[in-house]
């Protein structure tokens, strides 16, 4: 049985990667396979297959409660899938292989694999008892094992990128929502993840601070090194920043494609009616 499984797995791999040398580059950095998630009776994800390529920026749009956020939370290991598998850079995330069989991953395994993933939350979740600088240096020192000087340097560089070097010694409570979210982005970036998840990063912000956060994300996206999964309700932002847009509804990806196609010629009726609620032209002129 297990021999058969291995063989199928090898076949699949060969199918997907025709070359031999270049196959590393061609492999997805994240790969969801038949991932389902239920909370009690409520099934929020239904056998989702989803790939994210290295450096690719995917915007995930869809109505509230469609499972977008859950998709990201499963990858960040904040939520456990009910069934299916997730691979990160070729390694199983929620499972590990013991004697040829996939068994449930323990905390140690999760710790090893999720280092590639970073996340920015809707509600920032900064550590209120630490200064801004400490918010950015704590994990690099304690998790990555950087020296205090290295971590400080990295953190200050990142604060410069988000335009908040003057707030290094302040506490989160003294910052506006937009500033806090920029700090949260910097805090995720200092860990240098291969994949960054943005879970509705501007939904909790005052309208006047949304722009500054989106600008920072656009800037990071333009560098093009990290794969990004952007869950957002900002349609013009999704269009401007992403290589691909995936439309989520009722726990499945209903439609996906490049923004130029998806926003201009949506195929499914659902997407059409969803998009009709946003006036893209007007948003763009702002």
């Amino acid at each position: 049985m297990s021999a058969e499984e291995t063989q199928t797995a090898t076949l699949e791999k060969e199918e997907e990667t025709q070359g031999t040398e270049k196959k590393e580059e061609a492999l997805p950095i994240v790969r969801y396979r038949k991932v389902s998630k239920s909370f009690g009776e409520n099934q929020v994800l239904k056998e989702v297959d989803f790939d994210l390529m290295p450096g690719e920026r995917v915007a995930i749009i869809g109505p509230s409660g469609s499972g977008k956020t859950t998709l990201a939370r499963l990858l960040m290991t904040l939520e456990k899938p009910t069934s299916g598998t997730i691979e990160v850079d070729g390694r199983q995330l929620w499972h590990k292989e013991v004697k040829g069989k996939l068994v449930e991953a323990n905390e140690k395994h999760l710790h090893e694999v999720r280092g590639d993933i970073g996340m920015v939350f809707q509600h920032f979740n900064l550590f209120p008892h630490m200064t801004i600088l400490r918010n950015l240096t704590e994990a690099p020192v304690k998790v990555l094992g950087l020296s205090k000087e290295e971590a400080r340097e990295r953190a200050m560089g990142m604060l410069e990128k988000v335009g908040l070097t003057d707030k290094a010694k302040a506490y989160p409570a003294n910052l506006s929502g937009g500033q806090q979210q920029r700090v949260a982005i910097a805090r995720a970036l200092v860990m240098r993840p291969k994949v960054m998840l943005f879970d509705e990063p501007t939904s909790a912000l005052d309208p006047e601070t949304v722009g500054e956060v989106l600008d920072v994300i656009k800037e990071i996206a333009a560098e093009g090194e990290m794969a990004m999964m952007l869950i957002t309700h900002e349609m013009s932002f999704a269009r401007d920043v992403s290589d691909r847009v995936a439309f989520f509804d009722e726990g499945c990806i209903q439609e996906q494609g490049p923004p130029s196609k998806l926003f201009v010629q949506p195929e499914s009726e659902r997407l059409q009616s969803f998009l009709s609620r946003f006036n893209l032209g007007e948003e763009n002129s702002q």
């Binding site: 710790h111 993933i117 979740n125 550590f127 209120p128 998790v143 989160p172």
Partner: protein
């Protein structure tokens, strides 16, 4: 009125007792503090058996009289062949009793920290231990302080009970003084009250200082 030398004499006689009261307070507070965390973490353990045992012990020591616990350790334990020094009995009973109360403070403070803080810790790939040590506890500790302050003062007042198992604390000295000088009952117990306040009030100030100290950055 009462001559000043009578007052001075009462003070003199009560001071060694006051030293015993302070000692008992400090030592049992240290024990209670330690047990608070042990019990608090125990009740949050991922192992059901540890949760159950901690909950049972906490409820048992909270739910029975401190005085009876003292009597039990002092009078009953020797009958089972275990005789502890009287001072130790006092410290143990006070420490366990207030530790049981304190464990509830620890437990609820830890649970009061928003889930988002834990999630941010996971997103930064911290281990469960790091999340607790670096993120949750420093924030929860601040929440614990006012309740710990209350318990500390309760504990100080609770030490008066140990006079009933012949530990020569302040209350014990006051009572024995009164037996020989009943005409001064008013003065003796009046001064006893003042002495408790003199010890207790700095504890309030200490708690308030600690609250401020741990509130940096909070609006």
């Amino acid at each position: 009125m009462v001559p000043i030398d009578v007052i001075a004499h009462i003070f003199d006689r009560l001071l060694p007792g006051a030293a015993v009261t302070v000692q008992l307070t400090v030592l049992s507070a240290i024990l209670a503090f330690f047990l608070s965390f042990l019990g608090g973490f125990g009740r949050l353990s991922k192992f059901r058996i540890i949760r159950f045992v901690s909950a049972f012990l906490v409820e048992f020591f909270r739910g029975t009289s401190l005085l009876v616990q003292l009597f039990w350790l002092y009078f009953a334990l020797p009958l089972l062949g275990l005789e502890l020094p009287t001072g130790l009995v006092g410290i143990l009973a006070l420490g366990i009793n207030y530790g049981a109360y304190g464990s509830e403070v620890v437990r609820s403070a830890i649970l009061s920290i928003p889930q988002g803080q834990t999630e941010a810790g996971i997103a930064l790939n911290m281990t469960p231990g790091q999340r607790m040590r670096l993120i949750i506890l420093p924030q929860a500790f601040r929440t614990m302080l006012p309740s710990f302050g209350n318990l500390l003062i309760e504990l100080l007042k609770g030490t008066a009970l140990v006079s009933l198992i012949t530990i020569p604390d302040m209350t014990f000295e006051a009572k024995s003084m009164r037996t020989n000088a009943e005409e001064y009952t008013l003065q003796i117990f009046g001064i006893l009250l003042i002495l408790y306040f003199i010890i207790g009030y700095p504890l309030s100030l200490l708690t308030r200082w600690a609250e401020r100290r741990f509130s940096v950055g909070r609006s």
